[in-house]
Structure formats: structure tokens, C-alpha cells
Symmetry: D2
Subunit: 395 residues, 4 copies
């Protein structure tokens, strides 16, 4: 490739690449053993939008922020105006709407899958409210993760719960606006330990298909078994036109919610590779890239900037693969040559290329350095520090 051709390809990729960051990524989070409270963590929606705007200012790739209904719009629709106002002032738009069907005490034995018709009704209502909030905010995706499941064999009917779940999703789908989608997330473990009602992509796909054409599957990279081939699942969902979006994060063992690319960057690269391959083949695609991480130790804004930058770099690497040449080598089963071509792009140091793009687009050349230089975090610490609560505990 000529240098110009290379730069053009990189610039196009970066111009098109957007990744949504979650409001809860700026708040104090932790493990069941407690939270390590950060002085600079956001304590309210205004601060979350401010943080989101800072990330977007530094990276140029994070113009929307996922919202969590319970934490960000505790009064439901009433809070929508506040969100719209914040969007206007910060330039960060409301992204996907995330219902909360796990925190209320009533959901102890499930939400949409609870054996109690009353509690199921409550859960459905919350889901419908989330759809309405999405409409008001002109947000495209309602992104549903449920914690439903059971902890012990024999204690719940797996099949009955499938039916209850299907009913709830169908009802929510029926309420969707023209431009809205329902993204169904799966997870094979935690916080339910014996069975989770939507355990894998197969279940999510069947439920989404059953709900209706505007329901798609959401892939959270941390919601798989240790050695599962995630990019193959992505390829299948693309093949079926059922991929709605991603929750990116990384992990070693379980749903560790570490920053993207921190443990296995080659896997993220391969996932982007499947997406770019499908795009090159002209498949119908409408995929939302989102981050879902828990910055327990790293600084919140710092971790998010690092995440977006890493995502950009890995995406650019994947965009460098000559897909036509690769297809030829695959066809011939020239394994080593195909692999070298594919992995060669991963080995390319794209940091100077991304820097060139930043310069061209008037962005800070070194986002993390610029964040440190700006004093943003120190100012947040001073203002927010006194407002922080305690870290909680295990028992």
C-alpha cells in the first residue's frame, strides 16, 4: 500500500469509528467485597456528562453516553428534560437506555422471569418506561441486561421462565418506536450462579427473533466461557443479521469488566476483523459499539480515555488487512501466509497513524498526556471528593 493509500484507509476507519461510553463507568463501582472510593468519581448526572464530554474532547470518538434508567433517570420520563439539557450543553448525546431489573429487592427471584405475576408486571412496566424514555431522548437502543436466574438446581422451572421472558420481550418490542431497537444481552453466570435465564447467544437470538424484527443480540465480550471463540459468535450473528451491538471490556477469568484490550488485545482485533470482513462483503449491518467496564482501581476518566484510544488503535489495525488478498490465501488454504497477513496488521504500530489523524482533525495528539496536563481530574477531586459516600462491604 502507498503511504497515501494507507493514511486514507486509516483516516476513513477512524472517521467512521464511534464508541459509546457508559455513564456508570464514571461512578464508584467495585466488587462484592467493597468499593474503593475515588475522589474524582462522578456523583451525579451532571458530572457524568462532564466526564463524558472530556473523554469525547480528548478522543473525538465518544459522542454518546449510555444511560442507566435507575441511576441516571430515577424519576423516569420526568428526568428526560434534564438529560436533553445536559446533552445540549456538553455536546454528548444520550446513548442507549439501560433498564435496571436487578437492584430492587422485589427482584430477588427474578424480574421478567419471576414466578410472581405481580413482580413480572412491575418489571415489564419498567421496561416499557425505558422504551418511552428512549423515545423522548431520541435514543436508538434499549439495551437489556437481566440478572434473572436461579442459584440451585430444582428451585426454578427453566422452561416456564423462558415463556415469561418471551412475553415480556414481545410486549416491549410492540411498544418500540419506528427508529428504536431492543438489544438482548446474554450472560452465562453472575449474579445468578446455577442458571441465568439468558445464558448464551443462542438463547438471546431465539428470544430476539421471537420478540420481533427490531430486537437484536447484544454481545458483551466478558459474558462468555474462558476459551470461547467470541469472534465466531460475532460472525454467526452477522451472518444472521442479528447483531445489534457490543459491550466491550476485557477479562481473565469471569466478567472482570477490565479495560478493553488489557488482557487479550488480539481477541479484540479478531472481533473487529469479523466486523470489517462483513462490511467488506456488503452484509446488512447496524452495530452499536459500546463500552461496559468497571474501573475499580484505575482513574475513571483516565481509564475511559485509555479504552477509547485502545479501541481506535485496534480497529485501525484490523482495517489495515487486505481482505481481498486474505480471501485468496484462505481459498488456497495457504495457512501460514494467510495467518502472517492477518496477524501482520496486528503487529503494525498504528500509533503514529492515529496521531496523524488526530492532528488532521484538530484533536489533542496524546489524549492521556493531555488529560494529565489539563488538570481535569484534580479539579474533579476537589469538587466531588467531599461528596463521596462509603465503600460498603461484604457482610
Amino acid at each position: 500500500m502507498t503511504t497515501n493509500g494507507l493514511l486514507e484507509r486509516v483516516f476513513t476507519a477512524l472517521d467512521n469509528f464511534r464508541i459509546e461510553i457508559p455513564s456508570w463507568g464514571f461512578a464508584n463501582t467495585g466488587t462484592r467485597f467493597g468499593k474503593f472510593v475515588q475522589a474524582a468519581a462522578a456523583t451525579n448526572l451532571e458530572e457524568k456528562f462532564a466526564d463524558g464530554a472530556e473523554v469525547n474532547r480528548l478522543t473525538g470518538a465518544a459522542p454518546t453516553m449510555a444511560l442507566h434508567v435507575l441511576w441516571d433517570l430515577p424519576n423516569g420520563l420526568e428526568d428526560a428534560e434534564r438529560v436533553l439539557a445536559l446533552a445540549k450543553t456538553t455536546g454528548v448525546q444520550a446513548g442507549s437506555i439501560n433498564p435496571n431489573l436487578f437492584q430492587s429487592q422485589e427482584y430477588k427471584y427474578g424480574s421478567l422471569c419471576n414466578p410472581s405475576a405481580e413482580i413480572r408486571a412491575k418489571a415489564r412496566k419498567h421496561l416499557l418506561n425505558s422504551v418511552e424514555i428512549g423515545k423522548r431522548l431520541k435514543s436508538k437502543d434499549v439495551s437489556l441486561w437481566m440478572a434473572d436466574g436461579s442459584n440451585y438446581p430444582g428451585t426454578q422451572s427453566i422452561r416456564k421462565r423462558v415463556d415469561w421472558l418471551a412475553e415480556g420481550l414481545a410486549e416491549a418490542h410492540a411498544a418500540l418506536g419506528e427508529e428504536q431497537r431492543l438489544l438482548v444481552e446474554y450472560k452465562p453466570f453472575e449474579p445468578a450462579f446455577y442458571h441465568t435465564d439468558i445464558a448464551d447467544w443462542g438463547m438471546a437470538l431465539l428470544l430476539a427473533k421471537g420478540a420481533g424484527p427490531k430486537a437484536k443480540v447484544l454481545v458483551d465480550t466478558g459474558h462468555h466461557y474462558p476459551s470461547q471463540n467470541i469472534e465466531q459468535i460475532v460472525a454467526w450473528l452477522l451472518h444472521e443479521d442479528m447483531l445489534g451491538g457490543f459491550h466491550f471490556n476485557d477479562r481473565r477469568y469471569a466478567d472482570d469488566d477490565l479495560t478493553l484490550g488489557s488482557i487479550d488485545p488480539y481477541q479484540v482485533y479478531r472481533i473487529f476483523g469479523e466486523l470489517l470482513s462483513a462490511e467488506a462483503d456488503g452484509l446488512p449491518m447496524d452495530v452499536a459499539y459500546m463500552v461496559d467496564q468497571s474501573h475499580n482501581l484505575k482513574g475513571k476518566v483516565e481509564a475511559m480515555v485509555q479504552t477509547v484510544v485502545t479501541a481506535q488503535e485496534l480497529y485501525v489495525k484490523a482495517a489495515l488487512v487486505d481482505r481481498e488478498q486474505l480471501a485468496g490465501l484462505q481459498e488456497k488454504c495457504d495457512l501460514v501466509a494467510a495467518e502472517e497477513l492477518f496477524r501482520g496488521a496486528f503487529w503494525t504500530d498504528v500509533r503514529p497513524l492515529v496521531k496523524a489523524w488526530r492532528e488532521e482533525r484538530g484533536l489533542p495528539l496524546e489524549p492521556l498526556a493531555e488529560l494529565r496536563r489539563s488538570g481535569y481530574v484534580e479539579r474533579a477531586e476537589a469538587i466531588r471528593g467531599p461528596k463521596q459516600g462509603g465503600g460498603g462491604g461484604y457482610a
Copy 2:
């Protein structure tokens, strides 16, 4: 439950329980590091049928034997008469027909998914031959496991292979007779290491649905990730009316092909529980129970008898659960009571009950002891020993 009621339930369960044993379970098998050759291992089809008949004589629950086209009918349809004759003399009927799409050198880069149209055609032809053999033998199921996949990222197009696979299955489905079915097996690893073309139940289900209404999913219990909840997959497949059958075996780490119930008997019990629950709820069900094991160290016939007896016992345990009472406790979320009821049946020592059934049905009271007493294995050793080949090796 009254003693009579209990016995009736047990007898009904056992009268209905049939499990198919595989012809290759009587042959010498091993690992990539070599085979430990057994003198009594079957060296030809006649001996396999004899072994199968012995297992059926001892257990009364194994009237059919799965056949492997390449190993048992190397001449294809021509060999069908031989099989029918053996079935007549031994009383063991031909069970599922298993194509072989992995042993030929041409399948190095795949069979139905091979980038070469020529090799795909060869694989399809073999699959069609298998369907024809099934017809001739009046065998119901063509049971398809493929080893297709790739070993290195980037070396094959995952999505193109999906299409090729779908075409092959549709063609095979079109050739099925009225009473035939096509069972699609999945496996997430081995012998392909980076990706296997049918990696999980979701992929198998989509492929089976795409192939046609007579295609169903086959669950091999060893083809899952370590902590996967297999009974939930069973429940989902039953819910979708897409469960065609099982390959039972047990394992600790990978596809170890150990004897059923040897590592985690409670899991097998839970799987039977889902099946009996669906039956109690009147779901449409047509599920073939089959064994797929590799008796590398245990005596072949001995291991098979042990397997069938263990399956009977675990099935009877599951049949003892009062499903109505359990449903009530599940409804109330009375977790501990529900679990105790469910697990209580597992704790019940059913061996005397199964023995009573054997007595009633004129079967040997202690199948393993009777096998030892009979001298069957010693006779086989004397006759077959001299015919055994070598154990092979790793490199």
C-alpha cells in the same frame, strides 16, 4: 408414595428407557498418544454385534447399536445386507447411522466446509450415501458430527464456511426418507483448535432449522465448556422442539469420553430431570438416547454394561421426583424445600428397585457380576486377541 406406587413408577420408567450403544465403543480406541490394545476388543462387525447383544442381554435396555459408515459399512450400501443379517441373528437392530467426514486425508481443511468445491462434493456424497444406508436399514437417525474447523485465526473464512455447510445439510435433508431424521451435533473444540464450524447448540439449531423440519440437534454431553449448564440447553431445545438426541459420556476437562455418570452423576440426573419434566408437561418429544464413549482403559463390554446400568439408575432417580409438588415449591420460591425434594430423589438408593425390575423382567439380577460369571470376555480374548493390531503412536 406407597411401595406399590413407587415400584410401578420405577417399572414404567425402566420399561420405557432405551439407550443406544455405539459399535465403536467395542473397538480399540485411545488418545493421540496411542491406544492401549485390548485382547477382547471387537475386530469386526460380527464381534461388535455380538458384544452389543451381550450388553442387551445383561441390561435389557440396549436393543440398538449405532453404526459408523466408514468402519462398519466400508463398502457403503453393499454392506447393508450384512448388517441386516447380523441384526436378525443377534437381536440387536441397526441404530443411528454415523457418517465419517474426518478421517480421509482429503478432509485436512474441512469436509462440508472445505474451500474446495470438489472436496465439499465428496463430503456431500458421503452424507447422501449415509442417508441411503439409513433408509435401507430402516434406521431412523443420521447422526452427523463433523470435525471441520480451523487451527489459526485468519486462515479460513468463518462465514463462507457457514454457507457451504448450510448447503450440504439442506441437500442431505432433501434426501431423507419419510421416517428419517438428520441430527446435527455441535462441539466447541477438538480436533480443530481455533474454531469448529458447528461450535455450539445455537449454531447447530440454526443449521438444523435451515436444513428443514426433520433436522434436529444432537447434544453430546462432553461437547461443552467446563462449567456450562447443559440441562438448561436441553430445556431450551425441548422448548423449541429441536432436541433430537444425546450422545452421553462424562468428562472432567475436555471431551474425555468417560463412562456416563463417572465424574458428575448429579449433572446426568439433572439432564434426565429436564427430559422427564418436559414429558410430564406434555411437550412434543422424540429424543434418542445414545452413548458415545471411548473405553481406553476399562474393558469394552464391561464399561458398556456399567454405562447402561448407571443410566438406568440415574433415570429412575429422576423419575421419582414428584413434579407436581416440585412445581408448587418452585412457584412459591421455597428454595430449600424445592431443592431438598429435587435432590432427595437423587439420594434415594434405587439399586434395589432396579433389581426388582430385573427380576420381574427375567433379566440377570446383577449385570456386571453376571458378565464376569459368564466368561464372555475371556472367550473373546482368546479368539480376538491374536487378531489385534498395534497401538500406534504420537509421532
Copy 3:
């Protein structure tokens, strides 16, 4: 075995079997997504001792309760008198002493392994205080679990932290009283996600050996990789005379802290089998059986009674194995006979035998039924309910 011989063996096993329950098993616990608050959960040390006494009254096998320094003796040594008084009134003795080196905000980057000498000193002091508390309470074991580790590659020096840890343990060991022991627990994941400073039994063993002869390894059954053979680790620790005790619980995926025997009862049986085998061989053994569970959904006291009863039953099953006969079959490599003998004891329904023992020892015949009948939980709900706090939340 004669019926009398059988009963004698069962009674001896049960008379010897004691399992320690943790005070925190009676408090409200949950996951990082929140806690489901139980009205009857213990809200203070008095209530924990009351609950412990109730479990012991019902099972006759739980005479001691593990204490957590931070939660149960927040004032350190000063609280010891209160504990001793409670032990006197309830008949439940103070069991192992559990330091807390994870909840304080200062431990964000580690406790005994923190790069800051000051924070390490604080952690050591807490550990020494725990040793003093143990002395005062005449408690034998200081049971150390640390959450130390790191979340991202490159962010900490794994080897430096080993040295700091070794120093801290040596100091604690030096302070142990004549009868005291230091139990070193290992865990490969959570809450640190990239590396945990004591990740496996090998590390725990080296650290314990380095600390001194009164340091032993603590095995938490939930702290292993999915398919790990835990009983083999137990066998090795017994072989090295380095096994100090257990934290029992069950799990499907990670450290789920479910009730013992709820997911894989055969594994617990095999663990007990290794212990009884070592005992039969006359190995030096001093092993503390303890429970460490998180009853997020099940009733606290109910779950604990169920746990102790299940432990008794599985222990009795393991005690039924004729070890001499088994050794003979193992020697001959008569695999199926050995396995049938070994697993046969597991299949034995020991519930009537345990009931006979209860009758003989004047214990309630059906502990769980007796708990329900007693109204203990309802009374606790009435008194404690109004005192319960909130359930917390993820973000």
C-alpha cells in the same frame, strides 16, 4: 458388613465429625449488583451467636463459629470479653479468627503486598492483632484470606510482592501462641482480576513453609479453576502434612459460595474420601472443617442447617467405603470393580442411618423440619427486620 457393624461405623463417623460455621453466613451478603436483604439476617454478634447455637442444636455438629475481626470484633481485643461471654451463654465457642485485609480504603493496591511500606505495616499490625485475639479466645486458627493482587499486566511487580508477603507471614507466625496455627488460603481470581498474590495451593504451600511449622494451607473448595481436581490437591497436602483446613462451599462457575454439595456432591464425597483414606493410613492430620458460604437467596439459618446436614451425609457415605478392599482392587487395576465399590458407597442412602444416630444422641430427627416447626426464623424476622439496612447497589 453387618447392620451393627454398619451402624457402629456410621455413629463413629458422625460422633467425630465437626464443621465450623462462619458468623458472616448469618449476615446479609450479596453480589456486586446488590444484596437482597433478609428480615431474619443477624444484625449483630449476639444474633450471630444465637443463630449458630440454633444450627448446633439442630445438627449436633457445629459447636464453633468462625469470627471475622472487622465485623465481629471491631474494637479488636477489647471485644474479646463479649465473645467469651456469648460463648458461655450460647454454648457455641469462638472458632477460627479471620483478619480483614480487604475492606479498608487503604488496601486499594494491596495489604501485606502493598508497595507502600506504611500500608503494609498497617496490614501486619492487623494480622498481629488477630493473633492476639485468637490467643485471648483460645481459638486455634488464624485463617488468612487476602484480596491482594492486581488488575492489569505490568502494573505491579509480582515478585516484589511475594517478598513482602513472606515477611508479613513470618512476623505473624513468630507471634503465634503454642497452640495456634496460621492457615494460608489461596484463590486464583476475584476481587483482583489479573493476578492474585496467593493464587494457588503451590504458592500457599511455599508461603506457609516459609512462615514456619505452625503455618498450614487452607483449601476453599470454590477457589479453583472449573475442572481442577480438588481432591488430588487435598491428597498432596495430606501427603506433605500441610493441610490445615477447609472452607467448604459449592459453585458452578467461579467462587459462587453456594451451599456445600448443591452443584457437585460427588466431588465433596471424593474430598472426604481422600481425608478418610489418609486417616486410615495413619497419616498425621489436623484438619479444620469450616464452611464459607454466601446465602444470598436462601434463608440464612435454613441454608446453614442444610449445609451441615449435607456435610454429615456425604461424610458418612465416604466412611462406608471398605478401604482395604478398595486398596486391593486398586493394586490389581481392576478399574470397574474399584469404581463400583467406591461409588457404591456414594449411592447408599445414608439418611436413615444419620437419623438413627440423631435419635441415639437425642437430636431432632429432621433438622430442617424442626427448624420450620420451631418458629425460630419467624421470631428473628420480627425482631431483626426493622433493624435491617439497605441492599446497596452496583454503581
Copy 4:
């Protein structure tokens, strides 16, 4: 770093980096389902040495070849002269000596751990022979991997086998020459499925320590649980001065024996990072880098060249880390900065640097291209093709 400083560091690293290749990596290998026979695969020791020499010619980093006693020196000591002659003519020296304690039919129930004293004696004798071969060949390491274990709970005494194993290793250690070492390899699964006698690094370390000071642990990267932190084990073994060497390979699920860095290159980088960190800290180190792979699909020589080159590149990346600066950031717990520094070196494209080194050292600039250009493989195919055997099969 200045460009000169950078190049110097790279050149020093590459000059010091040697990796041993295994003779069996050039032979036909496969899975239990059969072997895909390659025309160019080596069929005898001469061809293996020729292949090894070609790899060394192309990479300049593989001057020794691991030998397998059974396959390469079937006549034991008698074959040593042949090996020495080949070493002279090819310039490739005999590397580690690998006993074979798994292929003989007698090892069905174990070798050094077999309940039969006679079979144990045979296994010990083979091990002693291997030591003698090592002496004669002036090979430093006897590299012991055993397949011993059991397939079913209760069928073998885990502890008795520990004692037998310890005796065998002590005997072998006593026979070691002044310069020889005994490397003890561990593996948690396959081909034994329920328990393997040396399952993890803890067991290997205890056995090595018990055998004597010249026994060390061998880490095969594929012999771990899916999410295990291998570099932490490396760090611990270095800390204890117990790391003897590596068998490098990569995998997704089990012991897949794929080429190094093909699935998770960042992990290999982190392992090299721990080694270079220990070296920088001046720890005593004597670590043999070896490859153990099964090239089932890739061309044998091609795969080996690719492996060595990838190892060089990942090693150079790890050598670029400024360890002093990193230590400072770790000390301050500046997580993101530390991670960026650490991972930054991984992102550096070192291929031009390695090329510069090749030029300086008179090596082919592009080893894989040079291999293709040379026609070596085609010549081997022509000569060896007619000599190839069949691929075997599962049953």
C-alpha cells in the same frame, strides 16, 4: 531511547536468544481422530536433523534439537554415535533428551506410578537410560513428561503413586552427571482424564525439590487451565530458583500445541517480561527455551520457522521495556502509566529491528520468504513423500 541505544538493546537480546526445536515437530502428528500425512514430513532422524538445520540456517536462533528417546534413539545408547555424527554434519546439536513413558502397552495403568513394581522398574530403567544417553551426547537436560494418571475416581491411590514417583525421580537424579539436569514437566489433563500424577507446578516443584538440587520444573505453556496466569507461575518459579525451562506452544482450549503466539501473543510477551525482569534483577537463572508443538495442518518446517521468528519478535518487544521506569510507576501505583509503558513495547513493531539484526548477522532477511524461495520443502516432498505411512484412525 536513542536509535543506537535501541538497536544495541535489540541486537543484544537477539544475540542471546536461543530456542530449542523438537525433532518430533518435523514428523507427522495428529489428533486421536487421525493424522493428516504431509509428504515433506521427516521420516527418520537424518531428515529431522536436516529440517532442524534448515530452521537454524533461516533464523539463526535454533542451534539445538530436542530428541525423543523412543522415536530418535530406538536402540538407546547405541544410537548415540549416529546422533553425534549428524550433529557434526548439520551443525545442529543434540538438545534435551525426552524419555518416553507412555507409548508402551505396559504403561496402560502408569509408568513410574504403576501399581506393578515390575512395570515401575521398567520405567525407571528407561529413565536411567535416558540419563545415560544425555551424558553421552553431552546434552544438559533430561526433560521428563509422564502421561501417568487415572481415568476414574477411586480406581487408583493418588498418594501411593506420589511415593512411587518420588522414588523414581530420586533414582534418576542420583544418576545425573555433573552438568546434567532433570526437568519435571506438569500437565493437568490428557491423556489421563480424571487425575494426572503431576498435575500442576506445585506438584512438579515438590517432586523436583524432593529429587535433588539438579531437578527443576519445566513449564509447558499449554499445560494449564484456560484462564490461569502463567507468567505468575513463571515469576514464582524464578523466585524459588526452580525454573528449568519451557515448552512453548499456544492453544485456545486444551493442550492444542499450536504455534507460539498464534492465539494469545500478549501472554507470551508477558512471560518473556517476567524472565527479563528477573534477569534485570540479577536472579540466578538457567532457563531452557524449547518448543513443543504439533503441526497437524501447517507445513512442518514452515511452522517451525514461523515459531522461531515469532518468539524472537516477542522476546525483543519484551526487551524494549524500560524496567527501571516501570518499577518506579509500579511503586507509585500509577496504574495506567505503568500499563501503557509495559504494553507500549508490545505495540512497537519490531520487525524492522529484527531485520536489521539479521542483516548484520548475515542471516536471510525474510526467513519465511527465503524458505519458500529455497525449494527446500518441495525437495523434501519429492524424496520423503513415497516413504510416508498412513494416517491411522480413531477406532
